[in-house]
Symmetry: C2
Subunit: 154 residues, 2 copies
Amino acid sequence: MPKPLSRDKLPKSAEELICFNIYSAGHAFNRAYSPMLKKLKLTYPQYITLTILWETDGLKVGDLCEKLRLESSTLTPLLKRLEALGYIKRQRGKEDERQVFVHLTKVGSSLQKHAGDITRCIIEATGYDLDTLDTLVKTIAELRDNVILTNSDA
Amino acid sequence: MPKPLSRDKLPKSAEELICFNIYSAGHAFNRAYSPMLKKLKLTYPQYITLTILWETDGLKVGDLCEKLRLESSTLTPLLKRLEALGYIKRQRGKEDERQVFVHLTKVGSSLQKHAGDITRCIIEATGYDLDTLDTLVKTIAELRDNVILTNSDA
DNA sequence: GACGATAATATCGTGTACGATATATTATAA
DNA sequence: TTATAATATATCGTACACGATATTATCGTC
């Protein structure tokens, strides 16, 4: 009987399932970020949203949804809270009034200066070096996009 | 100037951050599971909870919290909903009345027969083979536990 | 230029998820 | 033995996150 080219036993326990490990790792990151973000009055999803805007300001709500892989039903209230904090400004498009553009305020922009320290702190917590993390990121991103794609067709 | 042993440039954009990729991958899995779980009247976190109980029935709430890396404030309402569905039974310990034991009902146990198909479907969606996923799981689990540990001390 | 189709956000109801806190029970110490 | 501390769950308030649906605006077609 030849050795199989791949394991043929399906994972069964939660600990063996990729989904559970991603799920619990997600919460772990949330809990690791939260105390640092509290000083900036930000939640973890709000912070991630700002990192997108720091790179490309003035995106439409739909653009942010696409980049964040979130629904407008999730993002709209989050953006309202960021606006209430004075970190962003939302304004309807003049040309097409269905669109809403999201711009950083001066205060919102200035928060970026804390990002480096926060990132360093989290990276250190993972216990992995930048090269390993970089590879891991690419793998998880591809896995995520495969799952999204499989889910959208059919 | 010698080539550095590791990348020395910190990830800056969300797409490069390990946390964002785990975050968005988590949502992707949730969305991939949900349609299948809807037939069983289950949500994704409820399903993960059941996979733990299918392996070890009769755990205490605290044991489940530890295995799931969730707080009791999250798990208690979830378990109540599972009980309302008739999938589990919660009962106070006789010896120590602070403890609550969680047992599968006959119906709750019987749901396990669907797990194989669901797992196969998700694994296929990832686009990776079992060996690769197995390695990835170990990496993410270690990363998660590092982050949790770093967060708990200090 | 009226009108159905499409598109971009927003609203709503349900279910996580957390930290802070409350409640109830058991363990410890005075 | 009786305060007091520690432990195990539960409750509460806030913030995601989703699907389903509503709202408003633009586009095609006649």
